[in-house]
Amino acid sequence: MRNDILVFAEHFRGTLNDITYELLGKGRELAQSLGSRLFVSLLGHEVGGLVERLGAADHVCLVDRPELEEFASDSAKAVLEAILEDVQPRLVLLGSTSIGLESLGLISARKGVPCLDNCTRLESRDGQLVATCQIYGGKVFVEVALPEATTLVAVVPGSFPKEPGEVATKPELRNIALPPVLPEARTTFRKLLELPPGDVDITKAPILVGIGRGIQNADNMSLAEELAAALSGVVCASRPVIDQGWLPFTRQVGKSGMTVKPKLYLALGISGAPEHLEGMKQSELIVAVNTDPNAPIFSVAHYGAVVDALELLPLLTEEVSNQATKKASS
């Protein structure tokens, strides 16, 4: 087996997702280190225009068919399997995203090849590929020596820089042998569901007060709202708060919610599961407050305090309000 690398490109509404460039950049680095070739698969309908954005790869496996318009169909997975069969890569890189994870375990089991999820680091040590992955909500890291056989690795978005993967030249097209008619799909796309209109757009707010399990109950939500008002910011949350129905889905930050990059992200009572971190770690200033000194949120925060968020909230609101009053009177 060669040491070739294959990246599964993700795109949405005509644009390549950042994770695609992040994987291409890492793939390019590893391919150079291993002396191998970098392939990228591009599946969809009328997506040929995206090929010229994939120049970090040596070859692009383009499959353009109407039934591939949405990745969620199992036609897409059948095509991915055919590409794997054709390229026979040593390493397959996918996003640990709602799109990539749909294929990871399924293809791993069907093809009988190993897979890894939640990867945040990937390197070649004298030709031995080593992946570092997060488990237990990011509180433990696992280092795994990848086998020589084809291995699928799903990478957490934001783990690698995207700039090395942004190369605007056209890679060589590789023809993939596919049956003229794909097997009948058992999962088919029906429609895209847009966000409900009316709520504030947290991706545009410069100051966000993020709350997590530490808020404890719905009655304490007003404490967060008061701090947000004092800071002229907006309250957002990690998944557990949204699942409780204390804030609408439009305020969720993380893997299946929004990706935010505000000037200030105050993380209060948020432990920092990988799914949440990937949605906020590019904020300009992150201040985290949690009672657990080992909380993963401190690994991405610029400033941290090990105190109870519920105790801090009214005190911080008061300090901020006093400061504003002083400023106004000076």
């Binding site: 749909e102 375990g105 696992v142 799903a154 796309f189 895209l192 299946s256 925060a301 801090l312 005190l315």
Partner: protein, 186 residues
């Protein structure tokens, strides 16, 4: 297991698989596939991700092993009238979702139930404890080998963050000072 029956399940099986290696969902999937395959069930529901998932989540692995379709991150699922399909909503990044039609049999990874039956009255639990039986099922140890884990380690405590010391009052004062310096206050 009894609580599961009290909430909704008709039957509960406790599986003794002799799994001696953690972090090996491929082995767990092999066991579940052996127990759940053969057309016994039209709909197999799993979670989306467990905290110790290293080699992929269980749902996709079980589906792949049984050659069934899989859709994960499901926040809503409705069975169609004729019992041949389910219509699901799957979460996408950026707050979007897609509606999919999935033909049965299938495996779904459930992200969030709409109205999960979290609370079981004690009276119901007591009643079930008297009548329900939990089957203990033994299966042969799976053949799937675990990954070659070379190191387990904790991230450095507070790595990357400048830690603010003191109690909540002191933290409030220092955070306010920091925000003022950064011109982030009105």
């Amino acid at each position: 297991m009894v609580t599961a029956i009290a909430k909704a399940a008709d039957r509960a099986d406790l599986v003794d698989a002799g799994l001696d290696s953690p972090l090996n969902n491929h082995a767990a999937a092999q066991i579940f596939a052996e127990l759940l395959g053969g057309g016994l069930f039209d709909l197999i529901l799993t979670g989306v991700r467990a905290i110790d998932d290293l080699d992929g989540s269980l749902g996709g692995l079980v589906a792949g092993t049984l050659d069934l379709p899989y859709a994960g991150l499901i926040r809503k699922a409705d069975a169609d009238g004729d019992g041949k399909i389910v219509i699901v909503q799957k979460e996408y990044p950026g707050g979007y979702a897609v509606e999919l039609v999935v033909r049965l049999p299938t495996v779904l990874g459930i992200q969030a139930a709409e109205q999960p039956p979290r609370y079981v009255p004690i009276s119901r639990l007591r009643q079930v404890m008297k009548t329900a039986t939990v089957e203990e099922v033994s299966v042969a140890p799976p053949s799937q080998q675990p990954l070659d884990v070379t190191r387990l380690f904790k991230p450095e405590e507070g790595a990357g963050a400048v830690m603010i010391s003191g109690d909540a009052q002191e933290a409030a004062r220092q955070i306010t000072s920091l925000l003022s310096e950064r011109r982030l206050l009105r």
